[in-house]
Symmetry: C2
Subunit: 317 residues, 2 copies
């Protein structure tokens, strides 16, 4: 038997046939349309990907235990609908009902960060832990929670937006996409790091950050890390401050949940120990009741590029 995992992103819909122990045997993708309508629902494109996966893996729907879909935005996993999504503009799309017309297997949909958390818990670095928080440091800051071995979604699947904790109430705090100011996401996302890097470059025209940005052709989430590793002090300050922002939100979550482990994913997680070591130290020292409470491990996520497909597939397990 196989699982089918569908990873809906802003640019493409990826799909894969996955064995029950998490091996991808075939994967493919198609680009997302500019604008889906009631007449041409996103479910049509998801159907195309599922058909392509069945064909490419040389299996039929009878070989499929279930289909899971990971989708950015607010998802009602109980009803199987996309409540809304900003990135690809969608409102109240009954994806599961629409796909059920074509595929007579269990079909599940959930928020992409929730899927990523579940995927790491079932197939990746979160295996064997009962309580795991997954945090993705990418365009935004996404959070997913495994509590007592189960995916936690909040009431009516409308919680788990840890990226939208306000960690700076001041008037001068950076605006967040959610409408508030000073959310964790506005400090700890890759987008925020790029902004912080650019500001620091303006302040120090001799910084090595210029060299690394030129080599890559742009200022990215890597620029400050690369220059800091090469000994640039301005870049080191950017990195240290950025890491303190990441740690601030993580300690908040540790104080509320006390998970076994926090897994960091997203582009910034490629910095590995350079990122996780100082965060581990900050959590050990600054969490509530540090002296008495059980240790929380900080690790990077392990599923990387396939996290989307595997996380979605894990929904159907």
């Amino acid at each position: 038997m196989y699982l089918i995992g569908i990873d809906v992103g802003g640019m493409s819909i990826k799909g894969g046939a996955v064995t029950l122990d998490g091996q991808i045997v075939f994967k493919t993708s198609i680009p997302t349309t500019e604008k889906y309508t009631a007449e041409y629902s996103i479910s049509e494109d998801i159907r195309k990907v599922i058909d392509a996966v069945l064909e490419g893996a040389n299996i039929t729907i009878k070989d499929v235990k279930g289909i899971g879909i990971g989708q950015p935005g607010s998802i009602d996993s109980k009803k199987g609908t996309i409540r809304y999504s900003n990135n690809i503009v969608l409102e109240n799309v009954p994806v599961v009902a629409e796909l059920k017309r074509y595929f007579d297997v269990p079909i599940f949909i959930n928020n992409d960060a929730n899927c990523a958390a579940l995927g790491e818990h079932v197939f990746g670095a979160g295996k064997g832990y009962n309580d795991v928080i997954f945090v993705t440091l990418g365009t935004g800051v996404g959070t997913g929670f495994i509590l007592d071995g189960k995916l936690f979604e909040g009431r009516d699947c409308a919680g788990t937006e840890g990226g939208h904790m306000q960690i700076d109430m001041s008037e001068s705090a950076p605006a967040c996409s959610c409408g508030r100011k000073g959310c964790w996401e506005a400090f700890a996302s890759a987008t925020a790091l790029i902004r912080q890097t650019k500001v620091a470059m303006e302040s120090d025209k001799s910084s090595l950050m210029y060299k690394f940005a030129e080599e890559e052709g742009k200022v990215s989430g890597k620029t400050a890390f690369l220059a800091a590793k090469a000994g640039d002090k301005t870049a080191q300050k950017v990195v240290d401050t950025y890491i303190s922002y990441v740690a601030s939100g993580l300690i908040n979550l540790v104080n509320i949940f006390c998970p076994d482990a926090i897994l960091i994913g997203g582009g910034i997680s490629y910095e590995k120990e350079y990122l996780t070591n100082p965060i581990q130290k900050a959590i050990n020292e600054n969490r509530f009741g540090a002296k008495f409470n059980p240790k929380v491990e900080i690790k990077t996520a392990s599923l990387k590029n396939d996290a989307g497909i595997l996380g979605a597939a894990a929904l159907a397990l």
Copy 2:
């Protein structure tokens, strides 16, 4: 059958005999000792209160379904031990095992804020809701979480410290008792409100706050509210700013949990709608996905002075 609820506080240990539907038939208390030792454990004083409750309610231990104990600090409810407590200085006290020698009924211990959340859920304003966050605005800011109808404690009962979310990362942020700076508790506790009130009074010697403080004999959590209601602009600014601090942390929790309701307890909750109306508005407007997500109700807790005894009793239900 009765429940016995024990409410351990900094000044006294209260106890009550409670019917299964939450009526207190008898209550009493004794003062807490300055310093408990291995030889004279806090369990000895708890035992005295239980004996006094049995006698006062004219019942025997055979009439008791179970005993619940609410205790400030870090409690390991599974092991039945106080891991540590700052207020009354305690470390690794096996309270349940110690009391089991005397009372052959189920005995439970939990953190006081957790008990308060459970008490409101079972007997108070949280009845009928599946997901409730209880927040107490008192000396500190305590939080308790009912998720999917059950008390959530975090892994190893070491979570639910929502008061220790950092909401201000700046160097100038007020210090928190936990060692961090800028925790929600350092802005939204009654202690913090008193500090904010005193600073505002310094800045406006003609403020009505002086009159109300004089009448009460001190600056309290009520001073700014009373003066604001009487038309004092400086006091109104204190109140508005304080409420924005309370709302900041609550919106963070709403974005993570999306509870049915948030119940506010503690001294400041006596301000009722004057407090909850602007908070409800702030949450409705500023939470993540405000337009699409289900409403979260803000109410004041209902158990008031008996919350401690009833919450502890609810542990034994």
